[in-house]
Amino acid sequence: MGLLEIFDPVAAPRPIGIDLGTTNSLVARVRDGAPVAIRDCDGEALVPSAVYYDERGQVIVGREALRMAQAHPRETIVSVKRLMGRGASDPETARLGTIDFAAPTSPDEARTVRLRVQGRILTPVEVSADILRRLRELAEDEMRSVGGAVITVPAYFDDAQRQATKDAGRLAGLEVLRLLNEPTAAALAYGLDQKKNGLFAVYDLGGGTFDITILLLDDGVFQVRSTGGDSALGGDDMDRALGQVLLEHMGAADDPGPEVVRLALDAARRAKHALTDREEVALELPRVGGGSTTATVTRAELERLVAPIVERTGVACRRALRDAGIEASALDGVLLVGGATRVPFVRRYVRDLFGREPLADIDPDQVVALGAAIQADLLAGTGSTGEVLLLDVLPLSLGIETMGGVAEKILPRNTTIPAGARQVFTTYADQQTGFELHVVQGERELAADCRSLARFTLRGIPPMPAGMARLEITFHVDADGLLTVKAREVTTGIEQEVLVKPSYGLSDEEVERMLLDAIDHGEEDFERRKLAERRVEAERMLIATRGALAADADLLDASEQKAVEGALAELTVAVAAGSATLVQAKIDALDDATKEWAGRRMDRAIARAIAGKQLDEVDATVAHARGVDEQVAEHQARLPPGASPSQTGTGPTGEGS
């Protein structure tokens, strides 16, 4: 007798992994302990990262959008990933392409690229959110209920690019469990599949980004030793180089229209693909002013064009090896990831660079999403992949601008994350009550040559003579590679208000407005959603706290235990009532009642870990969606509204701690 597969109408939400690529995107999940790509009704797993906006406001994503690109080059956005986290005047906007960029009308608007599409102004975050929404739908078609996502980013993405990706996830209605570095994701999928141990390099050349990561695989621990790359280098650049040549063939080298550019770039990409296993390809191209021409492109010619692009990867590779403190010969393998690694010249180059044949027995288009699915599965606590731990690093040094415009490094690149640093600054004017900090990311000596991340304005410093106030600034980089800053005046212990003015990206209000716009029924719906999400968080706390009581009640004295049980009961009651505010208040109360105890339990966990025992898994819970307002709060902490410069702001005088 055959078994019927029973479809559960209230299926538990399951996590997904997403590779949000420059050229193609992909969603995957873990099924029966193994990661698999989710396919559309045509059996296709790859979703082209192309979005077409029609005049009625309809959005089409994927293959169908790509088909519209030729006839509607201005309305079809491709390779939007290259614009994530970039300002309006970024050099990336000046490259050969078809996008109609809108000039910023204010300095605030200049913090992000804006695209003009069908009379609307769109940001790269919104376009990416449209791609993510399509992927979410694909996953929902197969799994009914999606419970959080790991989204991959190039390892070399800076803070602004990461934040933009997280914002896009939020906008697409996804709970972003983690931003995972693409090479690390690939190594995770590969390492678990092949059960390999050793020192590996992951060479990841995608459509628009290049990453090199050196990491150690050791019995389920994936420890990144170093990473490097270029977040504006990839297969797109090869297409552009060849496209430029094709435009000349077409007699359209000077000021071609978007249709002609699209045609040349598409022809270039097709030629590049064809030259993977052919020596020569003939392209039939229209000529400006009528007629057509046949352009013959040989592999040798393509290689001459792409050589300078590929050679740029070598510098980053050598530096990553140096940062890891190893020679290429110490590696146990080199993994190729990303569609552009199919180009024979790239393979040859990698082989010569590392002195060994690279491993290409994994599908370079899928491996990143598969790794993301594994990580999502682990984070959701449904993990069937055993004891796996990813230790990733900060890709670019974090620094502060000091007197003279010099960038003083506070966290060097390749620091294992999460990471933190503290710096103590002092005031230099009498009665100074404000202070400004400029945080930058990059390796260059001068702050102006690094990437500006944000300006932090501190206020409310108690008036004191110059040099008396001691400002302790704490920088935290979380496991997503995202930075937060806190400030405290040491002598008085007063926490300082920190106003953050990010140099790039969307303001919190903008993301909020977009979120509200995305929810069809406005305010009321938003409130209901908020309550639902507070309840989920409350349930999670109830489960965790009960589990903790079962395991570690001995770490509480009688009165503490009573307080915990009281707060627990009150939260249980509040969940049944219908107010998000009340539930939040009771969550906070339980949080307060358990804070110290949580510290003791953590000490116990540490003691056990040191003793070589496994961490108690008694209170293992199924992760549910994290609340929207918690994410909002997190975002607000990073980008509080109404940021304005301090009247008394000064340049910091650094004093390392």
């Binding site: 959701a380 731990l389 990813l390 503290r422 358990t594 949580a598």
Partner: protein
């Protein structure tokens, strides 16, 4: 960081700490504290785990570098770390460092990769020798502030070497590009 890295990693405070053992310890603690392990836990617990994980990573970073390792031992013994108040470097050391700087500028100018490598090797040897001298000295001080203070010139020398290493790394990068 507020906590001394040896305490954070639960290791005996010594200059010649077994770095392989420290790495294993760092990994064990990361397994217990990494934010990945606290996904789905209440916010307070997640925050706390994040801070501890940061501390563990910082401790491991501090122990790997001989300068910060030495500073941690000095601080644990109650020696205040203030470079400006520390004894000035000896003229001999300053002279040596100046000569090294000149040598570096020369190989940099000539883009002499082999010369640069030789210089790097010499520096590493110099650092190894200094560390080999410092290890028994730290052990003999037994955490006594006065005896630790006597080690400040040697630690200062270590710092000079470190700064020189940075200049060397920049030159290496320049030559590789």
């Amino acid at each position: 960081m507020t906590h001394d890295p040896f305490t954070v990693l639960g290791l005996e405070p010594r200059f010649d700490v077994d770095l392989a053992a420290a790495e294993v310890r760092h990994r064990e603690l990361s397994r217990a504290l990494h934010p990945d392990r606290y996904q789905g836990k209440p916010a307070a617990e997640r925050r706390m785990a994040l801070e501890r994980a940061i501390e563990v990573n910082a401790a491991w970073r501090a122990l790997r570098d001989p300068v910060t390792r030495a500073e941690a031992l000095l601080a644990a013994g109650g020696v205040e770390l203030d470079e400006r108040a520390e004894p000035k470097a000896s003229p001999a050391l300053l002279m040596e460092m100046m000569e090294l700087q000149e040598e570096l500028a020369e190989v940099r100018g000539k883009r002499d990769a082999a010369g640069l490598r030789r210089l790097g090797e010499a520096l590493r040897t110099r650092e190894r020798e200094l560390c080999a001298r410092l290890a028994p000295a730290f052990a003999a001080a037994r955490g006594d502030a006065a005896r630790l203070r006597a080690l400040l010139p040697a630690v200062g020398e270590l710092r000079y070497l470190r700064r020189f290493f940075e200049a060397y790394a920049a030159a290496e990068e320049e030559l590789a590009a």
